[in-house]
Structure formats: C-alpha cells, structure tokens
Subunit: 230 residues, 2 copies
C-alpha cells in the first residue's frame, strides 16, 4: 500500500509548524504549501522554508496570490498593525488584520494541489480558542469547506473522500505548544510577529506576539525566538 | 440607497457573457473578474475584456493564478484536447480538460474581491445541463460554496448574506442563447473554443465548440463567431 499523502498549509508560524509535525507523526507523505500574499515582511516565508526542511517534506510549494485587488487589511496594506491590545479587545469583533476570504482562498488552492497529487488529506493550523476573531478560523467554517470540497472534486465524485484536518482547533496556545514539544518541534525556526524589527526580532506587542507569549507562559517554557529589547 | 454591487466571473465565453447581461438587467453595479490560469491561448481573455467593455462594467480585474503546480489538465498542460467526441462520451466521466478545483479557487478569489468591495452578490455562469461533466458545475456544489462563504466572511458574521447566483444552471445551451439575445448580448465578442486556430477561429470540434454549435442550432440562430473551414 502506498503511503497516504497530505497537503499541509504552512505559514511559518507556531501553529502550522505544530500541524506539520502532527501530520508527520501520523505517517503521511508531506507536501507543504505556503502563500506569498504580499505580507508586510518576508520572515514568515523564510521560517516556513526552514520548518519544511526540518520536517523532511517531499515537496514545498510557494504559491503567489495577488491580493493587491483586496483592500482594507493591515497585513497587506498601509493600515497600522495594532500594538498592546487588551485581550478583551482582541476577542471582540474582527480585527483590521483580517484579509478578505484568506483561508477560503488558501484552502481552495491547497485543494487543487491535493487533487493533482492524489492526496485526500489537507491539514490546516486554524484555532478557535486563542485566536484573533477571524470568521474563517471557526470549526463550522472548516466543516463547511470540507463539505464543499467533497462536491467540488473529481476524487469525491469517483468515490474518494477529502478530509480537512484542523487538529489544533480546540486547543489553547499552551496546549498547542506542549503537543509540539512532544513531537520535537523547534519553535526557534518559527515566526509569528505581525510587525517585526528589520533584523527579524519580534515586537512582543502585536496580537500575534501576545498570543504566542501567553501560550509559552501557559506551557511553562521560554519562547526561543528573539524579541526586541525595550 | 446605494446601488448593490455584484462580482461577476467572466471567462469570455458564451455563458459568462450572458450572466453579465443578466446581472446588468437586475440593476447591479458590475465588477467583473477574469482569471489568467495559463490557458493554452489568449483569445478567451481578450474576449472577456471586450464583453466587459460592452457591458459598461465599473471595474474589471484580471487575476493571475499560478496553476503550474497543478498537473494533469489538458487546458493548462500538453495533453491533447479531444476533438469530435460523441455526446455520450462527453456526459460520461470527467474529461481531461478538468482543472483541479478550478471553480472553487475562482469563486474564493471572487469572494475576497466581493468582501473588499462590500459586494454581497457573486454571479457565475456554470451550467449543469449542457456541460462537460465537471463536478464543480453542479447545483449542489454552488449551494455548498454559498453556505461555506456565509461562514467564512466578515460580512456574514456581521449579519449580511453572501449570495452565489448561477442563473444558467438549469438552462440548456439553446435557452441560454435565447435569454442572452433578449438582453442584446453580442455573442460575436465571445470565445468558447478550447483549441482555436492561430488567427482565433474556432475549431468546431472540441467539446466546447460542439456544445456551442448545438446551442445555436437549438436557438435557431447562426453563431456569429468564425470557425475554421475544413
């Protein structure tokens, strides 16, 4: 029997690095896909490359998405990234860092890659506990995408089944980190900060850094990435 | 009250030109989106541009999708396009011209554009009667995508509703052409052939040409596009 293949969405952040290690631990042949969507900085994609190599992936595709047609997100435009927001603020409403239909677009492209590789399993690092209020990180979104994928594709029509795995969806950031450490994830290779210094050091103050630091505190370990000194 | 906006997927073919005219007749402000996905030829995108202009669209975006990562489709690779297939052959199984997850990817990008324009309505020219056996042209796919879109997006979370309109889905090719002619669609601007001559003339023999010619015969009018002389 052939080894089953998985397509893993890899951002270079903490969550997707953990997901890649989970897919590896389940015995899949790993095919990573990362997206260049005009992020403010390149540290994230460089981190994705390092994480892919460290996991011995069979292939790693960088897919360019021209999001210049999408307006209104701080992650791709000139809107300032918010710093030092209170947790209550983070969990109320959808933040300016929301990119229109981002996970829908990324999962759709990953689905096309999966079909062409004859992979039936997609892995995605979304999380609905310690998250930033994005609608496309919720379990009901993931389920609806999976259902749609099983009507959209040749494999499904021919009797196969596409599965969208979101193994972190109900974990806290601390639990994600604990699980990753059990699987020997090197979090020093990952990058989470929305607004890093020119040398790549994390700001420690954006939503993403705050969630990350909270997670390491919960897990009772020190975050190995560098933060700017203040 | 503001005029509602619609994002219309425009391929340059007969169906999407008809859909654009339908959306226009319903009073929407029109925003067209076309996809460059490494098609074998450029006639289709040139046709999309002409059709957009003829309908007075407010904007027309050309979105480049790098599908080089997807293998196995005659529309983007070196697999020969089949000619002169019998109708029974066309309706059995999924043809080699299938592009992995194509409509899923196109609709996802259109959804991102719709969110950024604050448009709640997407229009798509898929058809489940005179079609080529693509799974992502069926009504159950369109419904599942709409459902997913209403979980994926900010507008839906905030109480709005995304609608995916597929007004041709239950029409024959002949009925589509009749409806288009009532709306003054100039089918001479459209392009359907998968395998045109270097000067743009349609082959008359690929699945797409055969469906088109059958449709014009049913509608009782002559197809205004040029075909190669044999």
């Amino acid at each position: 029997m052939n080894t089953p293949k998985a397509v893993v969405l890899l951002s270079g952040g903490l969550d997707s690095a953990t997901v890649l290690a989970i897919a590896r631990s389940q015995g899949y042949e790993l095919h990573a896909i990362s997206f260049d969507y005009g992020q403010r900085h390149r540290f994230e994609l460089a981190a994705a490359e390092k994480v892919a190599q460290a996991n011995g992936v069979t292939s790693h595709v960088l897919f360019r998405v021209d999001t210049s047609i999408f307006r209104g997100s701080a992650l791709t435009n000139d809107i300032p990234v918010p710093h030092n927001r209170a947790e209550s603020e983070m969990s109320s409403g959808i933040p300016v860092t929301y990119v229109p239909a981002r996970n829908t677009i990324f999962l759709s492209v990953a689905l096309g890659l999966a079909e062409s590789l004859q992979a039936n399993d997609l892995f995605l690092g979304v999380n609905a506990v310690d998250y930033s209020g994005y609608p496309d990180c919720r379990p009901e979104f993931v389920q609806a995408f999976e259902r749609m994928a099983n009507l959209a594709t040749k494999v499904a029509v021919e009797g196969g089944r596409i599965r969208v795995h979101a193994p972190l969806i109900h974990l806290t950031k601390g639990q994600i980190i604990q699980q990753g450490l059990q699987l020997s994830v090197d979090y020093g290779l990952t990058h989470s900060c929305y607004d890093p210094a020119p040398d790549g050091a994390s700001c420690g103050e954006c939503d993403s850094c705050q969630l990350r630091l909270k997670g390491f505190a919960e897990a009772g370990v020190k975050d190995p990435v560098r933060y700017v000194l203040r």
